[in-house]
Each structure stands twice: as C-alpha cells, then as structure tokens.
Amino acid sequence: MRAEQVVVIGNERGIHGRVATRLAGMAASHGVHLFLRHGEETVECSSILDVLALALARGTAVGLVAEGAQAESALAAAIEIINAQDDSDHDPPG
C-alpha cells in the first residue's frame, strides 16, 4: 500500500525537532516507511537529521508518501502532526 499527498506546513516553526521526532515515532508505530519530498530531495522520516536538514518552514509545500500496510492511516496521522502546534506557541510575541 502506498498513500501520497501534498501538504502545506501549517506549524508556526515549520518542521522542527518535536515534529520530526513525532513523525519518526508515528512511522515506526504504524510500521510504515514515511517519506518527505521537497523539491528534488526525498528523505525518510526515520532520519530526524535528514528531516531537520531540509529546514522546512511554515507555508512550504511538501509531498508526504507513506508505504506499508497502514499507509492511509499513517498519512492522516502525519498530516495531523505537521499541522499541530506546540504549547510554546501559546505565547503571543509580547
């Protein structure tokens, strides 16, 4: 099974450490390979450093590809993780 979707990153800080950590954990628990595609580059979410090194900011469009038996549900979970906000975003700038 393979599921694929392009999403625009809604998280204020883009795909930062916590989001990357959650993506990797979710992919492992769903038993899928999860890939992020940005421009020419495709990285697997199991490598947090590869994901961080893409430096994906909010508003960037990325391709999400999940491969495995639970590809569909993993894809839905990945989208949710990418758009979730941190607690730290509670504080307005002032």
């Binding site: 990797a24 307005p92 002032g94």
Partner: protein
C-alpha cells in the same frame, strides 16, 4: 571591594557577571567547574583484521548511550513532557543514519578508528546544518553535539561520574550542559548551574525550567573566570552572578530561602486578612490565570478576584475555533466560582497569522508577517476577524449574569479602535436582547494600557472606558524597544527604567482624574521590590500569579501609605534604573526588614 580571605585575581572589574537568566530562583553556593577534555579526535590507522572490531566497539558505544537515555527516560515523571520529548529526539539522533551508518562506513572505507570517523561524520552534519537559514532549526545542532559527545565519552571509556561528588550544595559551571545532564542534576546536591553557551530557547534551559532548577546561561569564559570552590550567588531570574558575596549578601540569600521555606505556613495566616496597609489604605490583590484549573489555587491563596484571565486557552485547545457555547461554559464557571469578586477577562490576545494558520480548514490564511509584534494582533485581529470577536463577546455577555464581569481589551493604541469595539458591543447587546438572553447591568469595559500612545493619550481614553489595566510586560517591550526573548538585548529589559515608572504614574493620574480604577498586571505586580512602588503610585489593583498573592499582601500589611507614596515619588525623580534600585535597596529593607533579602 576587597576580600581578605580570597584573592579574586581572576575576576574582571566589578563583582558581578551578567548572563541570561533562563530558570528563576536565587541560590548561593560554591561552584564546581567542569572542563571537558578535548582528546577525542586522535587518528589512527587500523589493520584490516581490526576493522570489524572497531565497528563493533562503536556500535557498543551507541547502544550504551541509547540505554542510558532509555534509563533516564524511565525515571522521569510523566509531567515532564518537554523533557520526555527532548530525550526521544536524542534517541532518534543517536540512531540516525547520518550518525551511525556514516561513521561505520568511514571506519570501513578509511581503516580508521571510531573516534575519528564519528568526528568526521559530525562535521559533515554540522556543514549541512550551518547552511540552514532558520535559526531555530540550526540551533538543534547543539542537541546533535550533546548526543555525539556522550558517545565520544563512552568510546574513551569515561563513565558518567556523578556530576558532583559533593555533599554540600554546589552550583555547576561548564561550557554547556546537555538536557540529560540537567535531568541528572535533579535530586542531587546541585542547586543551580551556569554555562557559557545556550539561550533561553535551548533544550537545556527548557529542562531547567521544568525542574525548577535555577540557571543562568550565556556567560562567556565562565569556566576560566570561575574556579572550583568560588562562592557565588546565582539569580536565575535576572541572570546576575555575584562573585564572592559579602557575608551580609549571603545572609540575605540564605535568609530569603529560609523565609521561602517558612513562608507557606506563615502566609496561611494572611490568606484571609484584608489587603490593606497599616493605616487602612487598600489595594486589591488579584490573580492572573489562563485556565479554570487554576481557580482552586486562586481561592487558596486568597486573591480577591481575577485581574487577568487570558482567554487564549480555549482557542488553542482544538482544531477549530471554540463555539460560543464552549466559551460560555468556561466564562460561566469562571464568574460563578469567583463571585462576588470581579473577573477581568482579556479578549483574544494573539498574533493573527499564527492563530489563523492553526486551523488548516481556514481559507483566510494570512501572509507571514515581517514584524508580528507590530502586526495584526490582539484587538486589531479581533476587529479584523469580527465573527470570532462577536462570538467571544456574546459568550462573555451571556455569562455576565453569573458574577461580576470586566471585559478587558488588549493593545488599544488609538481611540478609533475603542469606538469600533463599542459599536460591536452595542450590536451584540441588541442581538442578545432580541433573543431574550439576559445580560448583567454592571459589565465594565476597560482597556489594557500597554502601548506608549495609550499612556500619552490616557486622559482621552479615561473618558471612554470603565477601567485601565496596565500591562507592564508589553509596555516595557514597546516603550524601550526591547524584545526580551532576544538574548543580545534582553539585559536592557528594565522594569525600573524611569520612563516605565513615569508612564505608570501618568496612567494612574489620568485614570483617577476621571474616577476610574487603574490596575497593573505584569510581572512587576508580584515582585516584592516593585510592588511597594506601585502601591505608592496609587494603583488600585495589582494582579499577579496566584501563589505570590499572600507574600505581597503581607508586605502591604506592614507598610504605611504615606511612606509608600514618598518612596514612589522619589523613584520618579531618579535619572536611571540603577538609582531606582539603589534607592529601593536603601529604603525598603530599612522600612520592612522582614520582607527583604535582595539588595
């Protein structure tokens, strides 16, 4: 000043160092300076039959480092969610192909030792991260280095000694600590730490805050300026380090900490007493909160109302903005629990782009703002997204029959905003009347005074609102042009800047000239050094974290109003913040010796 028992030949001019306070609390203790040896990147060539053994040795170190992290993770309390997430990310970094597979490939391809190969892999990762523009993501290289450093230690056979072998309380000093180091400081004799590196958003700082461990970062050359055995006072709030404190200073800290310990019992006594001076001058002491869960604490500590309810929580709790009914339920409980005390609810105070983009279904995505602090936020956002604002106003006004409601409008900077809000409120009231929904008669509408223009025009605004609430955190930021989250300028954020004090005074006078009450709800309100000055300026209400209310109340009850007024007037004559601090350090302990320990 000289110290007969100690030559401070390493100390530069002055007796204090200024860093960035990242985790509040004041401690006095001797320091233990930890210096890392940098012997790790030696290169040696391996005979072919040693290669796989070397790979195994590296794999063993990775495994051991991972086991340590898992072990630490198991011991953590569940409520340390930030720390758990940080450890999880470190576990992933430890297993990352850029770290593990790359190092192994380097060992095999170059017939070299694991230390050299890991150092090489690390510098390749660093190269990639150096190219990243986003400072927040680039900063994560610090985490990668923390993880790799532990592997280097394990490769060289260095076990984790206890961070401090001392039984006496100590303050640890190092170039940097990892979040894991910080977690290991818990439940040991470590009472605080300071580092050369780091910033307020570093993971190490986040962990220190969640543990309540006082910490100061960003003191350059701290490991050479300080020597193991030096006695210091560390203030994790202000970021100040006092070297070789005088016995009297030390005593004040110890006395302060002793008082803190005794405070809980002693302050119980004050919870039910009136908040008034010895000569009967009253100041309402109320609480700043953001969730209903804090109400028990508000009542336990004897607050006489909510001076600031930050209403953002309901909006950040779901995947779409809250319904009117959902908000109504929150506000009803809030007002009913606090009745008959007043409850001041600040309307939605968010940055617009950050807020709207939370809801992926929302079509009205805003462009990223270049300068969010000066952008579409707070009341400006509410006036832009009127349906959201109306829904909040409807919920507030419907809840008003359950208690005493005061609606607080944030970031008002021009009279036209106030007129627009009033027009919307009038429409909403007419709507509710048409629907037969009751609204209390005594709902008050006030504004935050937190922008310099609001201070300058306070006399005009005072005629338009029922109360003023001075928000000092933003007022200081906007008037001094200081982003306190910016490590390069944070030290210039200064509540005792005479400009700030004069603006507060001007606002109080303008409010009182129109017979409207003036409250203050920044961090200054709960600061034992600031509160007496604010009381002397005639503020009618100080709103603070619930837990500090008894302490401020005790302070108030030991004061006389004319002395407070005199001190406040003197501070207004001061030319700079140092003079203000000197004045207060001179006047306040003398007047109320039991209340003060900080100079």
């Amino acid at each position: 000043m000289t110290h007969p028992d100690k030559e401070d030949n390493q100390i530069p001019s002055g007796r204090s160092l200024q860093g960035i306070g990242v985790s509040p609390g004041i401690v006095a203790a001797t320091v233990v300076v930890l210096k890392r040896q940098t012997l790790r990147t030696g290169w040696y060539h391996l005979p072919a039959d040693h290669i796989e053994k070397e790979v195994d040795r590296f794999a063993g170190a990775i495994k051991a480092a991972g086991d340590e992290l898992l072990h630490l993770r198991e011991k953590l309390a569940d409520d340390l969610a930030d720390a758990l997430s940080i450890i999880d990310s470190h576990l992933l970094m430890l297993k990352d192909r850029m770290m593990v597979e790359r190092t192994m490939a380097l060992i095999r391809n170059n017939n070299v030792n694991a230390e050299w190969a890991l150092a090489q892999a690390l510098s390749e990762i660093k190269e990639r991260f150096d190219r990243i523009d986003d400072p927040y993501i680039r900063e994560r290289f610090a985490d990668i280095k923390h993880v790799a450093d532990r592997v280097f230690d394990l490769l060289s056979g260095r076990e984790h000694g206890p961070l401090s072998g001392e039984d006496q309380p100590v303050i640890l000093v190092a170039n940097d600590f990892s979040p894991e180091d910080t977690l290991r400081m818990q439940a040991s004799s470590v009472h605080g730490f300071l580092t050369e590196k780091g910033g307020i958003t570093s993971h190490t700082a986040i962990v220190a805050r969640s543990l309540g461990l006082p910490a100061v970062v960003g003191i350059e050359h701290a490991t050479s300026l300080l020597t193991t055995g030096d006695l210091i006072i560390l203030d994790g709030g202000s970021g100040r380090i006092t070297l070789h404190p005088e016995p009297a200073e030390l005593q004040r800290v110890q006395e302060g900490n002793r008082q803190d310990r005794l405070l809980a019992e002693e302050l119980d006594h004050y919870v039910h007493l009136a908040s008034e001076t010895m000569d009967g001058f009253t100041v309402r002491l109320s609480a700043n909160i953001e969730t209903l869960g804090e109400l028990p604490a508000v009542l336990r500590f004897g607050s006489e109302g909510i001076g600031l309810f930050r209403s953002e929580f309901d909006y950040f709790n779901g995947r779409r903005p809250p319904s009117e009914e959902q908000l109504l339920s929150t506000y009803q409980q809030l007002l009913a629990t606090m009745a008959p005390y007043p409850v001041t609810v600040r309307t939605l105070d968010v940055g617009g782009d950050k807020f709207l983009n939370r809801f992926p279904g929302n079509k009205a995505w805003l462009d990223r703002e270049r300068n969010p602090a000066l952008g579409l936020r707070s009341i400006r956002f509410s006036l832009y997204e009127r349906d959201l604002f109306r829904s909040q106003l409807r919920a507030l006004l419907r809840a008003s029959v359950h208690g005493r409601l005061r609606i607080l409008l944030p970031l008002i900077s021009a009279p036209v905003e106030l007129r627009q809000v009033k027009a919307i409120v009038a429409e909403v009231l007419a709507e509710l009347a048409g629907e037969g929904l009751p609204v209390a008669e005594d709902v008050e509408i006030g504004m935050m005074v937190e922008v310099p223009s609001a201070v300058v025009m306070a006399d005009v605004f005072a005629a338009e609102v029922d109360f003023f609430a001075i928000g000092t955190n933003d007022l200081i930021q906007y008037s001094l042009a200081i982003d306190r989250g910016n490590q390069y300028v944070a030290h210039l954020y200064e509540p005792f800047h005479p400009a700030v004090l004069r603006m507060i005074q001007q606002t109080v006078e303008a409010g009182h000239a129109r017979n409207i009450p003036v409250s203050l709800c920044g961090e200054m309100a709960g600061d034992p050094l600031c509160a007496p000055v604010l009381m002397g300026m005639g503020l009618d209400e100080l709103s603070m974290r619930p837990a500090v209310v008894p302490r401020v109340k005790r302070l108030l009850r030991h004061c006389r109003s004319e002395e407070l007024r005199r001190i406040a007037q003197q501070t207004l004559q001061c030319g700079d913040s140092e003079q203000v601090r000197d004045l207060l350090a001179r006047e306040l302990p003398h007047l109320y010796p039991r209340e003060f320990y900080q100079g």
